[in-house]
């Protein structure tokens, strides 16, 4: 696939956000093509989660533009982002602990009966179908999600993200709370979704994860993009150099955060 031949699914240009005096994201550029996984790497506090929260509508950017399929769009809150098919699996999972899996799955998009009341039975039936695909062992539909294990909660969060015709999926440390078997399961899921043509942002500070799953990698440091490159054009050591030193290797396109050399 030649990324230059088609319009990017997502393009964020010159995006900045500051909290108080701290520039959490500083004139960042990032793009994503259909059927592609882009890994977003960086230290804690490098601005990667922040950049992605701007795309998912959790934060409102101070400046910059967002394009979806080449069209400039206005994303001011999570509802706007969902409208454009941008779905997010958050690091903290973002589930309402006190309600059950079906209610979480449909939170904000409840199915209603023809009288305008909640159609819990349909939602539960639908949840059983979705969860059956993602995690066939899942049985605890009646319990508040606080009672579930980390992996089960993760599958609820992912189910919620992919159930509503997502075009762009943002996964913020999707495997942080999981054991090895569940991590492998999430990896399989990412490959499957990618083959279905979704664009996926994968945020992680584990570069092994990212090298296994991503097509391209963008590295951030101190709120700025150090560089972006294809995984096969770089070594893990070079990427580590980008993360730690901000040194952009020859295989990558340098960004404003690259160390002057």
């Amino acid at each position: 696939m030649d990324p230059n031949a088609i319009t990017p699914l997502v393009e964020m240009k010159d995006v900045s956000i500051a909290f108080g005096g701290v520039k959490a994201v500083d004139h960042a550029y990032i793009d994503l093509y259909p059927g592609e996984v882009v890994g977003l790497l960086g230290h804690n506090g490098a601005g990667k989660s922040c950049l992605i929260k701007i795309l998912s509508g959790a934060y409102k950017r101070d400046s910059g533009q967002i394009f979806i399929n080449g069209q400039e769009v206005k994303i001011d809150n999570p509802r706007d982002a969902k409208h454009y098919g941008i779905e997010t699996v958050y690091q903290a999972l973002a589930l309402a602990d006190n309600v059950d899996a079906a209610s979480n799955l449909y939170l904000g998009r409840e199915l209603l009966t023809r009288w305008g009341t909640l159609d819990d039975a349909s939602m539960e039936a639908e949840a059983r179908k979705v969860m059956g695909r993602l995690n066939p062992n899942f049985r605890r539909f009646k319990e508040p999600v606080v009672a579930l294990s980390g992996g089960q909660r993760q599958s609820v969060a992912i189910a919620r993200a992919i159930h509503f015709d997502a075009k762009v999926l943002i996964m913020d440390e999707p495997t942080a709370a999981l054991g090895p078997a569940e991590t492998a399961q999430v990896g399989e899921l990412i490959k499957q979704l990618k083959s279905e043509g979704l664009g996926i942002f994968l945020i992680s500070h584990d570069i092994h994860d990212v090298f296994d799953l991503a097509d391209r990698v963008t590295v951030m440091k101190n709120g700025q993009v150090v560089g972006t490159g294809r995984v096969e054009d770089m070594t893990k050591d070079e990427v580590l150099g980008m993360i730690i030193l901000g040194k952009c290797p020859p295989g990558a396109v340098p960004g404003p955060g690259a160390m002057a050399s």
Partner: protein, 441 residues
């Protein structure tokens, strides 16, 4: 990865009959605990009054009927306070809203409306009620928007509201008591005339019983449509029979309370009814404020359980950030919840002022504390996300039972306050202990 949740039909061996009954009927054991506590209070007071007077005064139709009327205003507000607390907020202003709203609708129906509509116009009470709902909701919405958009903690906003609206209530009437209120409006306060009588009470009881049976049937149909596990049939029968017995029992009790002799005699004279030997006996039946409280409870349960609004309230209370990220407009929900609370305080203002047949600026003083106590005793967690409407209704009944019982015993009011305070702390203490134990497993 997970153990299968126990399905409603599977029976584990070595299970006691009671445990099996509880599981099959899917009854909330917390609610049973509350009802048990209530029964203990009722029977306890009855025994003590029996020891004092030679007859049990507490469990008499007269006292229970009075208890139902006294509970209704707190009960109406407690249903709203549950949602406020579930959202991790608090509303300390409801008592003062009662004072403010009641003086306004008092002035409206005594001084203003008769001038345009004429005295005794049937539209007066309707306008007064609409006014009460509108003012209450507007005050709530205003306070809610301060909480949602400016981010002032609800404790502070409503503490300010408590002072502000109480002061405003004085200012409306310069401290005067407004009385008497419109005759039709006063029916909302209960009393012999503000009750619906035996026949209507039985009709309502019949409708309730039919509703219980239909609700169970519809629930079964719904579960069957999606092939979800069903309760065993005998458990459905147990629920239906117990539910109907409660309804019929309550109706029997309120119908067993006759009009006071003098009121009945006056009524007989006014309507040319011959008074039989031993006086005219007219059953009081359900009081109108009690019906208002019950309908409010039903409507609020529906809102909380079956609508998007309710779902968002609980989800926001459980994890505000998650709800916001899921696309819930939590600011709007916050304003709606406070507006609803204000409107319910407006209803309570109608009930309270109608019951006294007068409006004063001190009406509803300290009510916010009893309302919060009712919600909390009813199992609403101040940490947010947890609470039920029926729990708050039972909580209101518990508090009012304590007060009413202590009045019957002739305990002075200082002592009554101490007891209610102890019970509040004790109830929450027991509940916290219980929750921690069940959470451990």
């Amino acid at each position: 990865m997970t153990s299968a949740a126990p399905s409603a039909t599977s029976a584990a061996p070595n299970e006691s009959a009671i445990r099996r009954l509880l599981r099959a009927t899917e009854v909330d054991t917390r609610m049973l605990g509350m009802i048990g506590a209530l029964a203990l209070i009722w029977i306890g007071f009855n025994i003590i009054t029996w020891a004092q007077n030679g007859e049990g005064l507490f469990l008499s139709p007269r006292n229970l009927w009075n208890l139902s009327v006294q509970t209704s205003s707190i009960a109406v507000m407690a249903t709203g306070m549950v949602l406020v607390i579930v959202m991790r907020h608090i509303d300390l202003s409801v008592g003062s809203i009662i004072g403010f709203v009641s003086t306004i609708i008092g002035v409206a129906q005594v001084h203003i409306l008769p001038a345009y509509l004429g005295l005794d116009n049937p539209a007066i009470w309707i306008i007064a009620v609409i006014l009460a709902l509108a003012i209450g909701a507007a005050i709530g919405a205003f306070q809610g928007s301060l909480v949602a958009y400016i981010g002032i903690p609800s404790f502070i906003v409503t503490l300010g509201g408590q002072l502000f609206w109480r002061g405003a209530a004085w200012w409306v009437t310069t401290g005067q008591t407004i009385a008497p209120l419109d005759d039709r409006f006063a029916l909302m306060g209960g009393g012999p005339h503000g009750s619906i009588g035996a026949t209507a009470s039985w009709i309502i009881a019949a409708i309730c019983c039919a509703g219980i049976v239909f609700g169970l049937y519809a629930g079964r149909q719904r579960r069957a449509r999606f092939r979800f596990p069903q309760r065993p049939m005998w458990a459905e029968y147990v629920i239906a029979v117990v539910g109907c017995l409660v309804v019929l029992g309550a109706t029997t009790i309120v119908n067993a309370y006759p009009w006071p002799e003098r009121v009945a005699a006056a009524y007989a004279e006014a309507n040319n009814i011959p008074v039989p030997e031993g006086g005219l006996v007219i059953s009081t039946g359900y009081a109108i404020p009690v019906l208002i409280a019950l309908v409010t409870g039903l409507v609020m349960t529906f809102l909380a359980r079956r609508t998007r609004f309710g779902r968002y309230v609980y989800a926001t209370g459980g994890n505000p950030e998650a709800a916001e990220l899921a696309g819930v407009n939590t600011k709007r929900i916050t304003i709606l919840v406070f507006a609803l609370m204000g409107a319910l305080a407006g209803i309570a203002a109608c009930i309270d002022s109608a019951r006294l047949d007068s409006a004063t600026n001190v009406l509803g003083q300290f009510d916010e504390l009893y309302v919060i106590a009712a919600a909390v005793i009813g199992g609403t967690s101040l940490a947010g996300g947890v609470g039920t409407i029926y729990g708050a209704l039972i909580g209101a009944l518990v508090i009012q039972s304590l007060q009413s019982g202590m009045v019957l015993l002739g305990l002075d009011s200082a002592f009554q306050q101490m007891v209610v305070g102890l019970v509040l702390v004790g109830a929450v203490g027991i509940d916290t202990f219980y929750r921690r134990r069940t959470a451990k497993g």
